[in-house]
Amino acid sequence: MITSACYPICPYSTQINFKAVVDTLIPSSIMAYQSGWTFQYGGVDLCTWEYLMMSFDSLPTPLANKTSHLLDVAAFFIYKEYGHSSFSPCEGLFSTLSRKDRFVALDYLLNLQIPPGMLPVPYRNDPVLIQITVDSIYQLTYFGYYSEWYGYGETRCNPPSFRHLCTYPISWSYTGYPGPSFGYRDFRGYLLNMQNLKSE
């Protein structure tokens, strides 16, 4: 399922941090049903990390690398709490955390528990930007994963006007969404209509 990276513009450390964050928010998993079980691909398998990087780099100020550094500082802070003071906030450190600790790192950032002076520019001493960035990590990951984006296949990292659906967006099958439609016949009448109100 994993295909070659189509957005290799970012340094490797940024790529592995973004892979780590989407793997935390939407891991691959086994879904159990009465009739059996099925494997569900996660955010890494569906390349949602690339969508996330591309989205951050498409902002008025590109932020993918800066956000990766932000995650690294949060990871450094966690290692420090564990007594590993010999670590420095090296690039890609966030990806070495366990899934549980990556959650903790995101929560520390959201709750502004990392000393603001430690953070990279433009996040340094800008608590609202930190929180909006973490909110955006969640929101973009969920939107990228559950929308049709994976279905753009080899065109998914093209400029937006040059993408087209090449394959079935597999996440649709995880929700039962049938995709865009011309219409449905689930018409159950009207509870009120304007005409009646007017005549009253």
């Binding site: 929101q139 939107f143 929308s147 937006p160 995880y174 865009p180």
Partner: protein, 562 residues
């Protein structure tokens, strides 16, 4: 067009309406729109190449092109950074236009002909009468004939019932609420959403028509794409959801007096000192978003209809006279989301079907209104929007309790996967609070950050204690309705306070503009967008009332200056 009588800045929910009304009165109107125009032959590839300059002919509208552009895929349409329906220039390879925030949250708006009505849900309730009569310089009864006119013109109809509305009505009734058979809400109760969506085609249940055939006929097909841009109908002017690019814009072009110029960002209002009138507006400085070319355009009157964020920005960046309320008083309905997840067998007994199917029917087809508190409204979207708005945005993250079916805050990991596996059995309810105007909230311009159009808007919003109390009560009402309807679990999203979907009241009537929406300090400068609303309308979705005021303002402009 030679020197127009009126320049309108913005072709969205208000600008398109005032342009059409002025055109019908015989005035020559130039409409400047910052974003692209989808479905017009002069822009066959609106996101790839600059295309034409302007259009004034109804024959330029092309439904095939419109449907090609509005392709119903949620990422393509609603990605806030690079989607077709975003706040940014037509060229999607360029970033969106920036805003600066003082709190968590974001502004969700569209540029383009039709403005944010391109992805709005077409919810068109009237303001609660008490919210007008208690503080506006106009009375509700003065507005009523204009409501009737706009409702007839769009038209507004009560939403039909599909599964999700039926489930909501079932829960609301069981929770003890009454049906409100009215447009003028004075007491609490539930009702179908008054929506600017054409009623379903009478052949919708006739199997001899395919769904695709129906999508080329007049009337809603219940396809559920309101929020991703409705493309269904036989012509641009007959598209089912009545965004202004398919309702007022075609009617405006029919007058023969309107020219619309997309891809044109207005960044300054030009004024002069007139011996009799004082400071008065005489023109607009604008910039082409493809070429960067700047131009100055002049008219006898200027109408700002750029929205509740950009209109105050325009005022402040134009160095117009100081007004202590310019940009101040922002309200946003202090929104939140509450979601019920149901068991298939319970749904089967209520609906005769094991699913809610949130992607079917009007995106928002039912509501409960409670004057004094606000309103709650059903929502059903495609799964990417559902996941990102329901489960990604919580301020808090509270662990689920075995004893409490109500879970609060952000959801992630395997919990998210499980909840999204229940997407088809889920019903969202949007909370819209009757929030209070506070002068400390609003839009200023950032001294530190500019883009190609000048200093960017800087947005500050903190809800009052009373607003938060009301919101909590509405959350309880929504959760109770879902539980009464049989939800096995309820998730309260706990949105950040700065979610800006209904932005209003930043250029308030009675403070910045008079009851005719003309600036107190700059004559011949009118405003026709949500910024002139004196307050949050009691929680009613703002577009209809803005359209009502735009209709009324057109008449006043004509009477006073022509």
């Amino acid at each position: 067009m030679q020197k127009p009588d009126v320049i309108v800045i913005g072709a969205g929910g208000g600008g398109a309406v005032i342009a059409k009304e002025l055109g019908e009165l015989g005035l020559q109107v130039l409409v400047l729109e910052a974003g692209p125009w989808y479905g017009n032959k002069k822009w066959p590839h609106p996101n790839i190449e600059p295309g034409g300059v302007s259009s004034s002919c109804p024959n330029d509208l092309d439904v095939v092109l419109f449907k090609e552009n509005y392709n119903k895929l949620e990422n393509n349409m609603n990605d806030q950074i690079s989607g077709k329906l975003r706040w940014g220039p037509a060229d999607r390879e360029h970033p969106p236009w920036n805003r600066s925030y003082h709190q968590r949250g974001f502004v969700w708006q569209n540029s383009g002909v039709g403005g944010t009505t391109q992805h709005y849900l077409a919810n068109s309730p009237r303001a609660f009468p008490a919210s007008i009569d208690r503080s506006w310089p106009l009375t509700y009864s003065e507005l009523t004939p204009y409501y009737e006119k706009v409702e007839a013109e769009l038209p507004v109809e009560f939403a039909p019932t599909t599964s999700k509305e039926e489930l909501f009505y079932f829960g609301a009734k069981k929770a003890g609420w009454n049906l409100l058979p009215t447009l003028d809400v004075k007491t609490p109760g539930y009702r179908p959403q008054p929506n600017a969506i054409l009623p379903p085609n009478s052949q919708l249940l006739n199997p001899s028509y395919s769904e695709e055939q129906l999508s080329w006929m007049e009337g809603c097909t219940l396809a559920g794409h309101c929020i991703n841009g409705c493309p269904h109908g036989p012509s641009v002017a007959k598209i089912a959801k009545r965004s202004t690019n398919v309702s007022y814009v075609p009617s405006a072009l029919q007058t023969g007096n309107i020219e619309v110029q997309p891809n044109t960002f207005s960044y300054k209002i030009i004024t002069e000192n007139h011996p009799a009138e004082g400071v008065r507006a005489i023109g607009v400085k604008a910039r082409n978003t493809w070429t960067g070319e700047q131009e100055e355009l002049f008219a006898d009157c200027i109408v700002a209809a750029a929205g509740a964020i950009e209109t105050p920005r325009l005022w402040l960046n134009s160095a117009l006279p100081v007004n202590k309320w310019a940009g101040r008083g922002l309200v946003n309905h202090q929104m939140d989301m509450v979601t019920g997840i149901f068991n298939e067998k319970d749904l089967l007994s209520i609906l005769g079907s094991p699913s809610v199917n949130p992607y079917v029917g009007h995106t928002s087809g039912a509501r409960l209104d409670y004057p004094g508190l606000g309103s709650i409204q059903t929502i059903g979207t495609s799964p990417g929007l559902m996941a990102s708005f329901t489960y990604a945005l919580g301020k808090s993250r509270t662990k689920e309790s075995a004893h409490n079916p109500i879970q609060k805050g952000r959801v992630r990991g395997e919990d998210l996967i499980e909840l999204m596996a229940d997407y088809k059995s889920s019903l969202n309810i949007l909370i819209c609070t009757d929030d209070e105007v506070d002068r400390r909230n609003g839009v200023s311009v950032s001294a530190a950050a500019s883009d190609e159009n000048g200093p960017i808007p800087s947005i500050r919003y903190t809800p009052t204690t009373n607003t938060l109390r009301k919101k909590q009560q509405l959350v309880k009402i929504a959760a109770d309705i879902l539980l009464q309807a049989g939800a096995r679990k309820v998730v309260h999203s706990d949105w950040p306070d700065g979610m800006m979907i209904h932005m209003m009241s930043t250029m308030r009537m009675g403070y910045v503009v008079d009851q005719n929406c003309e600036s107190y300090q700059v004559s011949r400068l009118f405003i026709a967008d949500n910024s002139v609303l004196n307050n949050g309308l009691g929680s009613a979705n703002p577009t209809l009332t803005t359209q009502v005021l735009a209709t009324r303002t057109a008449k006043q402009i004509y009477k006073k200056y022509f």
